[in-house]
């Protein structure tokens, strides 16, 4: 399928008839455009994208949008809790973030901080639905399998380096974890097909296994096996099928798969090759190691890499009790590796053309779920009107009214704040709210993909942003 779109001036009904399915070879490269096409792709300010996914609902007032600080004092009404961490200075005069993120604070002068990202009201605030929405740009349920934004990038832009998988997903286990079915539903190439789906690396330390012979097989045996296979192909009695395209296509895929294993790029998957100092700088959490892995993969030509702290219901950022304590731990987990990743990319001259995005599916509040006026459903496992124990202390309720997104590099302004949230509860976005569609439009535009880019599936136009309506936030582009 060719990427096509509409002339914004034409009524949507008059979209163009499509060309027939392209061959496999064309799919791998950036497909040539039809002459009737009128879509103008934006000038890319980034070649690669790294999403640092703070899965589970990262509380903005506890990280990038500090509010009135309430220390733990027994008997304090819970309604007084806006932030449980005091604000600290950053490398940018007018930006403060929360204590615990000191290293990130030092690199905020490379950042654009969006404080007004918002999510739609879906009736109840569920991780699964908002995660799906964030990752695909569409609210589930959908009548077709919506592709992940990484798949969009792989599909439209193709790989940067043909040997390196374009779309890599690090840190999220997809089997044997809670809500794994819901996770798998959006961690996919969708209707683009698995050619554009993610390479999944849940354990960064084991990433090299993805580019090595199977565990226990020495390289010699591995290449003998391949040689045997090639000879087997040569000796097949079915000579008439040798040039059959389906056979050729299959052999080509097997060939490409093998190439990565013997390519120098495969080294990017092996964290053991890094110095002890580097590995320590990124920390020993899976997320930290994942950031290091992402750096290497992008350096060697990956197009889109997502690294997550991992969604595990009621764990990590999904704080439904003991929020302060757990968030303190999460600060420690993410602060060093994120800062180091930015610095390393900068040092390697990659930061300008790599868009790094820190985001989460929604934020948190101590008191209110959702948006004002919604029925406050009980989200806190530690219910109390006053602070009595540490388990009451923290932000425990899902909140979609105002979320923080941090962007580095990729053509974004440096040391910039966009939008604002209220200082009194509810902490909704009061200035320049940014919807998911517009957020994606911004990310896609930075990568050189128009938010109106469209593919046809089951004769329905399917756009990179919902209905092609996403508008990039121009103010944050440098």
């Amino acid at each position: 399928m060719q990427p096509l779109s509409l002339d914004p001036a034409q009524p949507r009904r008059d979209f163009l008839k499509k060309l027939s399915a392209a061959s496999m070879a064309a799919l791998m490269a950036r497909a040539p455009r039809a002459s009737a096409e009128v879509l103008i792709q934006p000038q890319a300010t980034a070649d690669a994208c790294i999403v640092l996914w703070m899965a589970g609902g990262m509380a903005a007032p506890e990280t990038f949008d500090p509010k009135f600080y309430q220390p733990f004092v027994k008997g304090t009404p819970v309604s007084k809790i806006l932030s449980t961490f005091p604000a600290i200075d950053t490398a940018v005069d007018n930006i403060k973030i929360c204590q615990g993120l000191e290293k990130i604070a030092k690199v905020m002068d490379r950042a654009t901080l969006i404080r007004s990202a918002v999510q739609p009201d879906l009736g109840t605030i569920l991780h699964s639905r908002h995660q799906y929405h964030w990752h695909t740009g569409y609210v589930p349920p959908q009548t077709v399998a919506a592709p992940h934004i990484g798949a969009w990038m792989s599909r439209v832009l193709g790989p940067r380096n043909p040997v390196m998988p374009a779309f890599i997903n690090i840190g999220q286990r997809l089997e044997g974890v809670g809500e794994s079915e819901e996770l798998k539903a959006f961690t996919t190439g969708g209707f683009f097909g698995s050619e554009f789906g993610p390479m999944n690396l849940p354990y960064p330390a084991d990433a090299l296994l993805a580019v090595r012979p199977p565990k226990g097989m020495e390289p010699g045996r591995f290449s003998n096996r391949r040689a045997f296979f090639q000879k087997l192909i040569d000796r097949t009695p079915h000579r008439d099928l040798m040039s059959d395209y389906q056979q050729e296509s299959m052999l080509r895929s097997l060939d490409s798969a093998h190439r990565l294993l013997s390519a120098p790029e495969a080294k990017a998957f092996d964290l053991e090759l890094e110095s002890k100092e580097t590995r320590e700088a990124y920390g020993d959490s899976r997320f930290g190691q994942g950031c290091l892995l992402a750096r290497n993969l992008v350096e060697k030509g990956a197009r889109f890499v997502e690294v997550t702290t991992e969604y595990v219901p009621f764990f990590q950022w999904d704080t439904h009790n003991d929020g302060h304590e757990v968030t303190e731990r999460m600060h420690r987990e993410v602060d060093a590796p994120i800062a180091r990743l930015i610095l390393d990319l900068e040092e390697r001259g990659l930061l300008d053309r790599t868009l790094v995005v820190i985001a989460s599916e929604f934020s948190r509040d101590a008191m209110i779920e959702g948006v004002p006026g919604s029925e406050a459903k009980d989200q806190s496992r530690a219910k109390s009107d006053t602070l009595e124990e540490s388990k009451h202390y923290g932000l425990h309720r899902h909140f979609t009214g105002g979320t923080s997104v941090v962007m580095f590099g990729g053509g974004m302004k440096k040391g910039h704040v966009h939008g604002a949230t209220a200082d009194e509860r509810p902490l909704i976005a009061i200035k320049d709210p940014v919807s998911i569609s517009d957020l994606h439009a911004t990310i896609f535009t930075a990568m050189g993909i128009s938010p109106k880019t469209m593919y046809e599936v089951e004769r329905r136009p399917f756009y990179a942003t919902e209905d092609g309506n996403g508008t990039a936030v121009k103010e944050i582009f440098a």
Binding site: S194, Y245, M250
Partner: protein, 791 residues
């Protein structure tokens, strides 16, 4: 006004009747064709007089009684920006308007037979029994009669016939999802009988379990059914697996099958009920709309997804029609939402093809659904018949007669073929297996697959043989298990697999409970019970079900064979490995528990298979008992001399245990049917190989092996593990390379290796292969396009 000679000019006074072909048609073509000829904007097609007179969604555009009031005229003369036609550009000039006005006043006459374009294809609704072309060259299968004629008309040669080896492999996979095993390959290739292919097809279709567990995948995909998935987490989704399995097993007629799903009962309502999501969903995704979309797609091959939000831009379906179906299902009256905004109009429960009948909107839901089900499966509803037979054709032949299979509004590449198959299904009382049989027995099916130099161009398709198909994830997984004998023992699907072995009604002997004559026996009493018998040779299979109140050990010829500690659960015990030709002995050492004297007893029923027949040995008065006990190894220090005839217990206080014996024997004697991948939850490897996430209905799977998938085959852990297990199992059976190679070629590729291939295999395996060499050999075979692509 000019008079006199009119040389090639048709200058006609404005008020006399214009010439349709030369004056009116060019105007319509110039100003209206873009939207109202190929397309049907606003529901108006001007292709033919008929469609022109039918009008638009706003009604007829020609007012015959008052031509001045015609909508057509209104629209081409209005100043209203939103109403004017055409909507853009200058529109008709005043001269052109006058021509149209005069034409309308004259009755808007058309040249008879005139059409602007070929009318957009509208698939027929009713079934049709086409007249079959004459039989040529004795190729009497109706499919061949049609296709032979089609090819002759197109001056195309017939595709070449398929050799036995390729046919054997393809038909096995297509009908049962399993490969022919090595012995069957040898036998089939050597078989010289003319009817062997037909006999094979019939045998495969009669294998109920294999058929069911293969087509389960097709139906799981098409009915959006899975054992895990989104929506189960909060009870918003329900499986139909148990019901579906049974329906396939019983070869439920298709019309009955569809009616059961459309007007469901609790065990199969999961399809109709869709997935109920927590929170609010878009209006087009409420469960009633899901019902309309699912029923439309799965059974009618109609895409109602577009029409769930607005009148479709690409075909005839309107928002009100999608909602009409939805409202049949809905518990509450439904308001129409257009693009997620309320319209203020209410939906009226209605069926899509009123020509066939209607659904009574005033009836309660259950009755409405029954009526809908009857309409979908009405004998006159050819669309349902064609939709399913087209799908089956696609499964077997690799490409539908209508392509894609969910786009039944597209023209078939041969309507006689499509119509015939649909009609034939109805004639066969909707027996899907008959359709499969008909296709498999055709020469069209039994032809070589088309090969292409590059990806085939869909727009100019001409049938030239079946398409090659990619092995599905399930077929690939099953093949490895089948070849190596390493299928798992457990499965996930909540279905009842057939245990058809020796059913209780086939047993001739009846075991009875026996003990010594001291009964009730003391608490703690022990007893030896033995039976001696002769065998001419070791049986092919032997096992027993033993129940003792309260505990026992069983020794066979001095070897401990099994034990039991719960009289309510008789034990199933394998015996074969302990039996010998000649004299044999069963020895039960039983213990009676309790705190005071109570009734004790032992029940024994053994089945032994010799020369394909089952012989039975049961507990009865012919057993002997002795209070003397053997040691813990079942050996007597000195053989007892006090053996007495066992006492048969007249009453049967252990009735339940007695009844269980029959079904346990049944289960043990059933041929061991391999667990199939279709019965398991998807895993990483299956996903890699294309098994879909069934959150949406899936009717076709991707054709190609992607690079990411290839990477997983190259070094993924699951495949590697399976190959290791497989190598280990195979080496036990085939310690020699030559035998191993021949077996693998036959069981994987349905042929013997060529001498070149064999030499290559031998050089890898060596004379006596080890596990790693075998593993790598297997990998090479399984990666072959010849293995993964079904020709």
């Amino acid at each position: 006004m000019l008079s006199g000679l009119l040389l090639g000019m048709s200058l006609v006074p404005a008020l006399s009747a214009p010439d349709f072909v030369h004056e009116v048609a060019p105007i319509l073509d110039k100003h209206c064709s873009k939207c109202h000829m190929d397309k049907m904007k606003g529901g108006l097609s001007m292709n033919t007089e008929e469609s022109f007179r039918e009008g638009s969604e706003d009604g007829p555009i020609v007012e015959s009684a008052h031509p001045e009031k015609s909508l057509l005229l209104e629209r081409i003369t209005t100043d209203d920006e939103d109403e004017r036609m055409p909507p853009k550009g200058k529109g008709l000039n005043s001269a052109e308007v006058e021509v149209v006005r005069a034409w309308l006043q004259d009755g808007a006459k058309w040249e008879p037979g005139f059409a602007f374009k070929k009318p957009a294809y509208d698939p027929p609704l009713r079934p049709r029994n086409p007249t079959l072309p004459a039989v040529v060259d004795g190729r009497a299968n109706p499919i061949d009669r049609i296709i032979d004629h089609y090819l002759a008309e197109k001056n195309q040669p017939r595709p070449e016939p398929l050799d036995d080896s390729t046919f054997l492999r393809r038909v096995h996979l297509d009908l049962t999802g399993l490969l022919p095993d090595a012995d069957e390959v040898t036998a089939f290739l050597a078989n010289k009988s003319a009817g062997k292919r037909e006999e094979l097809v019939d045998r495969l279709l009669a294998d109920k379990t294999a058929y069911t567990e293969h087509w389960l995948t097709f139906w799981n995909d098409l009915l959006r059914n899975d054992y895990v998935g989104t929506g189960y987490i909060d009870g918003g989704r329900k499986q139909i697996s148990g019901w579906l399995y049974q329906a396939l097993h019983d070869n439920m007629p298709y019309d009955q099958f569809v009616r059961a799903l459309v007007a469901p009962s609790p065990d199969n309502e999961g399809f109709a009920n869709g997935i109920k999501w927590r929170g609010t969903v878009s209006a087009a995704q409420t469960t009633p709309l899901q019902f309309a979309q699912s029923v439309g797609q799965s059974f009618l091959g109609i895409n109602l997804k577009c029409a769930s939000c607005h009148d479709s831009f690409v075909d005839r379906w309107k928002l009100s029609e999608a909602y009409g179906l939805a409202a049949i299902f809905s518990d509450e009256p439904m308001e129409l939402y257009r693009c997620d905004k309320p319209t203020g109009k209410m939906a009226k429960p209605a069926w899509l093809f009123p020509e066939l009948g209607t659904v009574d909107a005033s009836q309660p839901k259950a009755e409405r659904l029954k009526q809908l089900a009857a309409l979908i499966t009405a004998p006159e509803n050819g669309r349902t018949q064609r939709a399913i037979t087209n799908r089956l054709w696609q499964r077997l032949m690799g490409r539908g007669i209508v392509h894609p299979v969910d786009a039944m509004q597209s023209p078939p590449w041969n309507d006689d073929l499509l119509d015939y198959l649909g009609f034939n299904l109805r004639e066969n009382h909707y027996d899907l297996k008959q359709t499969l049989r008909l296709i498999c027995l055709s020469q069209a099916y039994q032809s070589k697959t088309e090969t292409f130099g590059k990806a085939p161009q869909e727009s100019s398709y001409v049938f030239n043989g079946p398409y090659a198909k990619r092995m599905t994830a399930e077929e690939f997984t099953d093949a490895i298990w089948q070849i190596c004998g390493t299928a798992p023992a457990k499965f996930d699907a909540p279905v009842k697999r057939e245990a058809s072995g020796v059913t209780p009604t086939m047993l001739n002997r009846k075991p009875v409970w026996i003990w010594s004559d001291t009964n009730p026996a003391q608490a703690g009493a022990k007893l030896s019970l033995r039976k001696r018998f002769k065998l001419t040779k070791v049986p092919e299979a032997a096992f027993a079900v033993v129940g003792v109140d309260n505990q026992f050990e069983l020794y066979v010829n001095g070897q401990k064979a099994g034990e039991g500690a719960d009289w309510q659960q008789p034990s199933s015990i394998m015996l074969r490995q302990h039996l010998v030709a000649g004299d044999n002995e069963f020895l039960l050492v039983a213990t009676n528990l309790g705190s005071e004297p109570n009734l004790a007893g032992a029940l024994f029923h053994a089945l032994l298979k010799q020369d394909g027949k089952w012989a039975e040995l049961v507990s009865d008065g012919g057993w002997e008992v002795s209070p003397t006990l053997p040691d813990s190894n079942g050996n007597f220090k000195t053989p007892p001399t006090d053996w007495k005839e066992a006492t048969v217990i007249a009453s049967n206080p252990w009735a339940e245990a007695t009844n269980a014996v029959g079904s346990q024997l049944d289960a043990m004697s059933a041929p061991q049917v391999m667990v199939r991948a279709a019965l398991l939850k998807s895993d990483l490897l299956m996903r890699t190989l294309g098994r879909p996430n069934r959150e949406q209905i899936v009717s076709t799977r991707p054709d190609d092996l992607t690079t990411l998938e290839a990477m997983d085959l190259n070094n993924g852990a699951i495949l590697d593990q399976r190959l290791a297990e497989g190598a280990q199992a195979l080496l036990k059976k085939f310690p020699s390379s030559a035998a191993l190679a021949s077996y693998v070629w036959r069981s994987a590729l349905s042929r013997e290796p060529s001498s070149d291939e064999l030499q290559l295999a031998m050089s890898l395996l060596g004379p006596k292969p080890d596990i790693t060499a075998t593993q790598d050999f297997l990998w090479g075979i399984f990666m072959l396009p010849e293995f993964q692509i079904i020709r």
